[in-house]
Structures are given as structure tokens and as C-alpha cells.
């Protein structure tokens, strides 16, 4: 799944390589929203690269505090830098969000399945992100834009609660400035100075330009948003096999062993987090499973 490393990687061989945290140093911290920060890190020990595939996640350790699963949000073509966008919601994430240049983070991974960026070549690509869901999609967007000729239309749809809650604001503007990709941004509520769209993501699906039978949709966001987005995409004629969703559950090991991330027959951490919608459709909308 992960690209073949060209340089020595920072990872130990399995099983220790997956059980023990590798040391990374924070290079910089960038504030995205009131409670969300992006850390850029580089390996602290031997090795200099951390190859990953778009969509995969790492387990990040705040030493002595705890470990949390965080999707990788950097560029897969730049494995020498590890980038994670983290929302401060619990003890470990709050600690990670306070780290500054030179601080240490433990990293295990990368874990999980990837966005089907290879398989989607020759198709239109529709990215649908909600809130923090843009973070796990960003590596796939980087890949698609770096390999622009391989795809048809590229539509990036991003919904957030308000303009203040949007991630990667400047970068979105940059993508929007390209002549070969369309970016649709919409928020639920906005102050008068907001010049963008107000309304839910699902409404934008109807306006995006893509050829449904030849489209691959990649989606990540809150459950409610994904449920209605899937409906919107299917109503336009996108096949459930071509709709990919990134799922979230309690994850503690990343190895499919601790049992917390089960969704019916699948373990989100090792069978996912990225699934073709067709694979989990029977479980997607079931309650309390």
C-alpha cells in the first residue's frame, strides 16, 4: 500500500516497529482554528523518511499522557516531513496541540488503508470534506493535483460550520486559484463579511461538475454529513463501489487487536479507515453498532 521507500526509513522492522513509538521532533506548529493545530515534524532518531499512502493514519504519543489516532495530512511526495492536524478534544490531543518547536512526539504507523488514488486514474475525482475531515483528504488532494493529467475533472467540496472553523484556509484559496480544479466551499452560518457560499455540503453536490458513471468520490466528515452526501452522490448516479469514505472509531492499537474500532465485521484500523461505501453500506447507518 505505502510507496516503496527510496531512502532508509525511520521505521524499525515489525513487530517492534509497530508497537514502539518512534521519536519525532516538532518543527513548527500552525493554528488552524480556535482548537485545531497542525504540527510539522521530522524524525529525531535514525532514518529520515516516513513513507505513507494518502488516507493512512499514525498513532501519536504524548509521552506519559496517552496515544491517539490522527490521520496524516501532509504530502505523500514529501515523506521527510510528517504533518498532522490535531483538534484538542482530550488529554492527549490537548497536550499535542500545546507542543512547540523541538518538542518530542512518539509516532507509530502508518496504519490502515489508503484512498484509491491509483485506481481512480482516468476518472473524475470528487472530494467531499466536512469540518476536520479535510485533514485525511489533503494527502489525496496533493497527489491528485501533482498528477493532474491522470484525472478528469477535480472537484473539491468543503463544508464547515463557519468560516472560522475551516482548515487550510490559504491553501484552499490556492487550489481555487488553479485553472484545473474547482473548489466549492460552504458554511452553515456566516457573518456578513463572508463572501462564500452558505448552506450545507449536500446542496453543493448537485452543482459540482462530474460525470457520475466515471466518477470516484472520496469523502470524510461527520457521520450525518457523510450519510446525506452518500445519498446525494448516489442520487446523481455515482456507484456505491466508487464512493470511498473514511471512518472513525475508538482506536487504541492500530493493529486490529484491541477490538475497540469494530463496525460489525470490520476493524476500522486495519480494514479501513478508508472503505468503498459498498463494503460497509449495511452497517453505515445502523444505530449503536
Amino acid at each position: 500500500m505505502a510507496p516503496e521507500p527510496e531512502k532508509p526509513t525511520s521505521r524499525l522492522p515489525e513487530p517492534d516497529g509497530l508497537l514502539l513509538p518512534h521519536l519525532f521532533r516538532v518543527e513548527s506548529r500552525h493554528r488552524e482554528t480556535a482548537d485545531t493545530f497542525t504540527l510539522t515534524m521530522t524524525p529525531s532518531g535514525s532514518g529520515s523518511e516516513w513513507p505513507f499512502a494518502p488516507g493512512q493514519f499514525n498513532m501519536l504519543t504524548a509521552f506519559g499522557i496517552g496515544e491517539v489516532p490522527i490521520s496524516i495530512s501532509g504530502d505523500p511526495a514529501e515523506p521527510q516531513r510528517l504533518i498532522h492536524t490535531i483538534r484538542a478534544v482530550g488529554a492527549a490531543t490537548r497536550h499535542l496541540c500545546k507542543l512547540g518547536r523541538g518538542d518530542l512526539v512518539g509516532v507509530r504507523g502508518p496504519f490502515g488503508t489508503a484512498w484509491p488514488v491509483k485506481e481512480a486514474e482516468g476518472r473524475d475525482l470528487v472530494f467531499v470534506a466536512g469540518g476536520l475531515g479535510l485533514a485525511p483528504l489533503r494527502p489525496a488532494i496533493y497527489h491528485a493535483l501533482a498528477n493532474r493529467p491522470a484525472y478528469g475533472n477535480i472537484e473539491i467540496i468543503y463544508g464547515a460550520r463557519s468560516p472560522q472553523d475551516m482548515l487550510y484556509f490559504r491553501e484552499l484559496k490556492g487550489w481555487r486559484g488553479r485553472f484545473d480544479a474547482r473548489v466549492h466551499v460552504t458554511v452553515d452560518a456566516a457573518p456578513p463579511e463572508w463572501r462564500g457560499r452558505v448552506g450545507v455540503v449536500t446542496k453543493v453536490i448537485d452543482l459540482a461538475r462530474f460525470d457520475p458513471p466515471h466518477t470516484v468520490a472520496l469523502m470524510c466528515g461527520p457521520g450525518v454529513m457523510m450519510r446525506f452526501t452518500v445519498q446525494g452522490l448516489m442520487a446523481r448516479g455515482v456507484e456505491p463501489d466508487n464512493i470511498y469514505v473514511s471512518m472513525e472509531r475508538n482506536m487504541q492499537c492500530g493493529l486490529g487487536l484491541c477490538g475497540h474500532c469494530q463496525l460489525g465485521p470490520v476493524f476500522i484500523c486495519k480494514d479501513g479507515p478508508v472503505f468503498p461505501f459498498s463494503r460497509i453500506k449495511d452497517w453505515f447507518a445502523k444505530r449503536e453498532v
Binding site: 513487530p15 509497530l18 518530542l104 472513525e248 487487536l257 484491541c258
Partner: protein, 389 residues
């Protein structure tokens, strides 16, 4: 039977000694504070000699048997998973050094184990755990290491408890594979001996260092008869034909509500279950702030925190948690690992403080589904009748 041998009852001590001399830590059933547990067995006297276990839903009693058998007790609340998948395990320790951390991996210092007295159902449980911890994409090195070295002495069951249902699942009462040695304890007509089969070269080597002789046909028949009798005496059985599909179609079955009128969500069933594998991972730090550790602890899907993600739990209701446990054991497990998560030992029935019985609950679910279907038919027939008038 050319591959069956007899060792006389006193030679069991010899078996323990041979295993000890080969460096094994011998573990088996023993009594501790009047409870049946698995622990170190230094000599045959440590075994629960002459005791029998009586099981019912929510009830466990040890009683004196008439015969001085070594393996009269079947299964207690312990299972062998506690040795291969310990309930508390430190995965690593990290020491702060100036501006960095030195991470030290866990090194397993346990001696190789010899499990003495593994029942057929528990052999099946080991096989189930092998699929989870040893044969998956990411094996657990601790389990793998201990399991690979473990010497297994199985003991065939010559009696069944009221809660046993291995015969209906095909996992017992006879051990058919997965052992180094398999014993059948026979005590009749004043004779007390073990019929022994070796399942591996390692097992044969140990057998060869014991005083033993080939078994006669009569001795083999006597042992087989006892095991067959144990199978026949089982009153509980789990009908697994079509069960997975049935459970997948019964997430909203009204019987779930009836179970949780009783279920305390204590998780005893999952803790005593020899195949339940869920665990928590917790980090801690010492008072100096210089030593960080990561621990692994058994955890159960009956806790609300089990499904917690920021914002709340996925399964807040007891109903959804019992449903998760039962559906995992009997349905999703099959998709995950290609086998049932239940091996028919009956521990979850015995150790449930309110006597919830998995067999009965499956029956209850099926009955409720039949009732609901009958209701539907009645409704549609009623409408038709009405339409005809």
C-alpha cells in the same frame, strides 16, 4: 489402537517432573481459597484431586466426588488466555533523557509454559486466539512467543457440566488436534490410568520418557466410551446453522430488550470467555515525570468507554452493548476470523451473576422473530379477509 498408550495414574507426577526438567513452568487447575483456578502445578497434589465442579446459569459449586480423580473439575472462571494474553502487560517503558526519551521494549522473561489439563473446548479457544493474535496481519509478539513455546497437555472430558455445549459446536468433548499430549483419565474397576495420545514429535518425546505401555483395545474402548458418554449427557446445544444471517437480520429484535432487563453489563461473560480479546491501552507517568509507560489491560465491550470517541459513546445503551457482544461472538467473528467466537465452554453462562444464558437468549431471539413474523402474517391475512367482505 497402535498410537494409544497407557500411563498409570501415579505416572502423572512423572509427567510433571519431565516437563519441569525440560524448563517448562507447569500450569494447571488447582484450588486457591476454595476456588478453581489455573496456576502453577508443582506436583499432582496441587491438582483438585477428588473434586468436581457443578455448573448452572449463574451458579458454580465445587463438591467432593466419589473418586480420587485428578481431572474431575472441568472449567473454572479462569481460562488459558490469562497466560498467553495476560490481563495486564507493560508494553514498554520510556525514560526521559535530557531533551529526549529512551524507549525500552518489553522483554518477555516468562519461562515456556506447559498447560496441563486443557479441555477440548479450550483447545478450540487457543485456535481461535491464534487467528486473532498469531495469524493476522499484525501478530502480537508476546502471544506469538509464548504460544509457540507452550507445551499442551489436553485432557478429554469424561463428564459434562450442565452448562457445557461443546458437542453441538463440534469443539469437544474429545481433543482431536492442537495438543502435544492428550490424556483420558479412566477410573473403573479399581484401575486408575490415563490413555495417552501424542499429537506432536515433542509430545512423543515426552511420552517416551515416561513409564508407558501400549493400550489394549478394551482400554481404548473404555476411554472412548466415557468421552462419548460426556457428549451424550450434554443438555444444552447451540444451533449454529443460519445463525450468522439470522443475527444480521435481527438488530431490532424485541428480545434484546428482554435480555437487558437482566443484564448488569458487568462484563463477567467477556472476562471469563476464553476467546474475548478486547483490551485497553493506557499510558502512565511516574511522579518525577521522567518514566512513562504503556500498559495493556483486558477490557470488555460492556463498558460505555469501550466505544467512546470524542463527543460520546457509539453504544451508550446496555441493549446495544449486549447485542455487540453476542453478535460478535456468533456472527461478526465469522467474518473477521473465519470461525465462531464461541467454543461452547459455558463459562459465560455459569459466571453471569444474573444467569443470562447465551443458549436461551439465542432461542429467545428466534422465538421473538417467529412471533413477529406470525404477527405480520396475521395482519396481512386479516387485511385480505377484510378486503373480501
Amino acid at each position: 489402537m497402535d498410537n494409544s498408550f497407557i500411563i498409570e495414574a501415579p505416572q502423572l507426577q512423572q509427567l510433571i517432573e519431565v516437563l519441569q526438567s525440560q524448563g517448562y513452568g507447569v500450569l494447571g487447575p488447582t484450588l486457591r481459597q476454595d476456588d478453581l483456578v489455573y496456576d502453577e502445578v508443582r506436583a499432582t497434589a496441587d491438582l483438585p484431586v477428588g473434586w468436581l465442579d457443578e455448573h448452572e446459569a449463574g451458579s458454580f459449586r465445587l463438591i467432593r466426588g466419589e473418586a480420587q480423580t485428578f481431572f474431575g473439575c472441568l472449567v473454572g472462571q479462569h481460562s488459558w488466555k490469562q497466560f498467553l494474553f495476560p490481563s495486564n502487560l507493560r508494553l514498554w517503558q520510556a525514560q526521559q533523557q535530557e531533551n529526549s526519551w529512551q524507549v525500552n521494549a518489553f522483554t518477555d522473561e516468562e519461562p515456556p509454559y506447559a498447560f496441563l489439563g486443557v479441555r477440548a473446548c479450550d483447545l478450540a479457544a487457543l485456535e481461535v486466539h491464534d487467528r486473532t493474535f498469531a495469524r493476522g496481519r499484525h501478530p502480537d509478539p508476546v502471544y506469538q512467543g509464548r504460544r509457540g513455546k507452550a507445551f499442551i497437555v489436553a485432557v478429554n472430558c469424561t463428564r459434562s457440566a450442565a452448562t457445557c455445549f461443546c458437542a453441538s459446536l463440534g469443539t469437544g468433548p474429545k481433543a482431536t488436534s492442537g495438543f502435544d499430549l492428550a490424556l483420558t483419565e479412566v477410573m473403573e474397576k479399581g484401575n486408575h490410568y490415563f490413555l495417552v495420545k501424542a499429537g506432536t514429535k515433542r509430545g512423543t518425546a515426552v511420552l517416551n520418557s515416561l513409564t508407558h505401555r501400549p493400550a489394549t483395545k478394551a482400554e481404548v474402548a473404555a476411554a472412548e466410551g466415557l468421552v462419548a458418554g460426556a457428549a451424550r449427557s450434554q443438555s444444552r446445544s447451540l444451533e449454529i446453522e443460519g445463525l450468522q444471517e439470522f443475527l444480521y437480520n435481527n438488530f431490532e429484535n424485541p428480545h434484546w430488550d428482554r435480555v437487558v432487563e437482566r443484564c448488569l453489563t458487568c462484563g463477567n461473560c467477556a472476562i471469563t470467555c476464553p476467546t474475548c480479546f478486547c483490551h485497553d491501552i493506557q499510558d502512565r507517568i511516574d511522579v518525577t515525570g521522567e518514566v512513562a509507560e504503556r500498559w495493556r489491560h483486558w477490557e470488555v465491550c460492556f463498558s460505555v468507554d469501550h466505544s467512546y470517541i470524542h463527543g460520546g459513546a457509539i453504544r451508550p445503551s446496555p441493549r446495544s452493548r449486549y447485542r455487540q457482544w453476542l453478535t460478535h461472538k456468533l456472527a461478526t467473528w465469522v467474518d473477521q476470523f473465519g470461525c465462531l467466537g464461541c467454543i461452547g465452554c459455558g463459562r459465560c453462562i455459569t459466571w453471569c451473576p444474573v444467569g443470562i444464558d447465551l443458549i436461551q437468549e439465542v432461542r429467545g431471539l428466534k422465538a421473538a422473530a417467529v412471533e413477529a413474523a406470525a404477527g405480520e402474517t396475521q395482519k396481512s391475512t386479516g387485511e385480505k379477509t377484510h378486503g373480501n367482505h
